[in-house]
């Protein structure tokens, strides 16, 4: 599969996704742009090259699962699922509109293809543990992916789940930390440092890999490697850039949740993207 991968084409899709995510958030008037844009390449790689999913059968028992524990990054997941055909891309323009099925945080109740409802930070890895445990009990071979944030890693429940997953040898869990070094109130090293992050996960009994979360080859290689680890769960620490590709807020604390009150702000965010000639599908 990797041999057929067209990096240039993927790069164009990534630019397109960045544009659409930004546009969705701008139309909604506000949104969590930073933590969505840091996951573009990872989400693309998961849904196009690593995860086994079937848009015709979103609940297929043998599919790989994804728990987006940092549920506020839902816009990038919605775009990935729409592109894969889980629901019409025309819906993307309704995010956060009154009565929408696409709320700001990932919602399994209303969105085909989403495996767990998240939004209150720190709970997703526990849910992933339950899903992985169920798979072990039922002799299923699929993988449960779980994406957590670096700020989210402040939540103690992650570390309860970390102990549990290692104790139960849940090698069918591949977790990814979106380590963009920023949380709402500032840089993680200033607010509450999570370092030494790799050592922490190793100490909890996990296999740990680190990767550049915007490098196609690095992401693919590490996620495939993580999927094949036997006997323990794996954490892939993805070094990323918050709000990557959106110049006005890239790598700034303010990118966590931006307000887009008027055309001027809209022009600022859209104008700050590398690609402009995108026709949005809604």
């Amino acid at each position: 599969m990797s041999d057929e991968f067209d990096k240039e084409a993927a790069g164009h899709v990534a630019d397109e996704w960045r544009y659409i995510v930004t546009d969705m958030i701008c139309r909604a008037g506000s949104g969590h742009i930073g933590g969505a844009l840091s996951l573009i390449e990872i989400m693309h790689t998961l849904y196009y090259r690593v995860m086994n999913v079937d848009q015709e059968n979103p609940l297929a028992p043998d599919r790989d699962r994804l728990v987006l524990s940092k549920g506020h990054a839902a816009p990038v997941l919605y775009v990935a699922l729409a592109y894969k055909g889980f629901f019409p891309a025309s819906l993307l323009g309704t995010m956060n509109a009154d009565g929408t099925t696409l709320p700001s945080h990932a919602d399994a109740r209303t969105v085909p293809g989403i495996d767990a409802t998240t939004g209150s930070l720190g709970q997703g890895l526990s849910v992933a543990c339950g899903m992985a445990k169920a798979a072990k009990l039922d002799g299923q071979k699929h993988t449960v992916f779980c994406i957590i944030g670096d700020g989210e890693s402040n939540e103690g429940q992650n570390w309860e789940a970390a102990m549990f997953a290692a104790h139960h040898k849940l090698d069918n869990i591949v977790s990814i930390t979106d380590y963009n070094k920023l949380q709402i109130d500032g840089f993680t090293d200033d607010v509450l440092s999570i370092e030494p992050l790799a050592d922490k996960w190793r100490a909890f009994g996990w296999e740990v890999f680190e990767m550049d979360g915007h490098d196609w080859d690095d992401i693919y290689t590490n996620l495939k490697k993580a999927k094949s680890v036997i006997g323990k769960p794996t954490m892939v620490i993805a070094h990323t850039i918050k709000a990557k590709g959106c110049c006005p807020v890239e790598n700034t604390p303010g990118s966590h949740n931006v307000k887009v009150p008027d055309q001027e702000a809209y022009d600022k965010f859209i104008g700050g993207l590398t690609t402009q000639d995108v026709e949005v599908p809604y």
Binding site: G122, Q123, S126, V127, A128, G130, K133, A134, E160, F164
Partner: protein, 316 residues
């Protein structure tokens, strides 16, 4: 007389879980290092080790694991002390269970004053109230072994996030083998005209005794037992209040927000009636015997009788 009759409630919980697992291997027993207290260790742990998961002292994680198991079609029964099963993990239950609408059963053991020697730190008087205000949740409190068993069968058979209180020791049976549980229905245990007495959980056995004694004194009690405080059977309460014009509630909970709160909400809208709420007032718990706490807060058998007598004389 059935073998259930003389069992501890937690024994019934463990044995019933084993029977449910035998009937449906997807039923799971989750614990957080209190499995002996819940009655599932060794009962379930040894008979069905594959269905038994101990999360350790990590209640939040236990609820999340329960949610993940439920998403995959398992039917997890997650037990720990009621103080931890409700207030400690409120957001986990709210988001990962109720909001997500997944089929997790949460068992709050040793509710209210039955925490005795563990004292105020471990006493939760609010779980019926806090769980009741959560959309999607069903909230139950069984009064005896027969009701507990029937309730657990119902829980295993229905896809429905549920919170259930579980008193651990033996209690005085109210029902028998023929008991059938319906969460939509209160049980009219005794019919009377002078006062409506409403109870839930193991306190119902005291209400039964009080109603019998009052009958001897010429006060006839309409005794309603609510195994489910959510859903709440509105019609049975309103019909009874219309008949008697006087209502007394009693529960092993705070008088704010629980069964008494539900009764007041319903009657205020449907048939305004004077209500006397018995239970724990707006106070924390303390290390004490049940008798001491009954007397201190005024919701033991004698207090129930007295409150009913008074209520019957000032009918609405």
């Amino acid at each position: 007389m059935s073998d259930l009759h003389d069992m501890e409630m937690r024994q019934v919980y463990g044995i019933t879980l084993n029977k449910l697992i035998a009937g449906n291997p997807n039923v799971m027993c989750l614990e957080a290092d209190l499995s002996k207290a819940s009655g599932t260790n060794p009962t379930v742990a040894e008979t069905n080790p594959g269905n038994f998961v101990n999360a350790g002292v990590a209640e939040a994680n236990m609820i999340g694991i329960g949610a993940g198991l439920a998403i995959e079609g398992k039917v997890p029964f997650c037990a720990t002390f009621s103080c931890f099963a409700s207030r400690r993990v409120y957001d986990q239950i709210y988001l990962s269970v109720a909001y997500a609408n997944v089929n997790v059963k949460i068992i709050g053991t040793a509710p209210g004053i039955t925490q005795g020697p563990n004292g105020g730190t471990h006493m939760d008087f609010q779980d019926l109230a806090t769980m009741r205000v959560m959309p999607n949740m069903h909230v139950y409190s069984p009064c005896d072994p027969y009701e507990l068993r029937a309730m657990m069968r119902h829980m295993a058979a229905n896809v429905q996030p549920t919170y259930m209180q579980l008193v651990r020791p033996k209690v005085t049976p109210v029902f028998n083998e023929s008991y059938a549980f319906d969460p939509e229905k209160a049980v009219v245990i005794r019919e009377g005209d002078d006062v409506t007495l409403v109870s839930t959980g193991y306190i119902t056995s005291f209400a039964v005794a009080a109603a019998e004694a009052l009958a001897g004194d010429g006060v006839s009690v309409d005794l309603l037992h609510y195994p489910s405080v959510k859903p709440f059977d509105v019609d049975t309460l309103v019909t009874s209040a219309k008949k008697t014009g006087a209502v007394v509630t009693v529960e092993n909970q705070s008088i704010i927000g629980g069964l008494g709160g539900a009764v007041c909400e319903v009657l205020a809208e449907r048939h305004p009636t004077r209500v006397t709420r018995l239970g724990i007032p707006d106070r924390f718990g303390e290390v004490a015997t049940e008798q001491y706490l009954f007397d201190k807060h005024g919701f033991g058998p004698e207090h129930i009788k007295e409150a009913c007598r008074k209520a019957a004389t000032v009918r609405t």
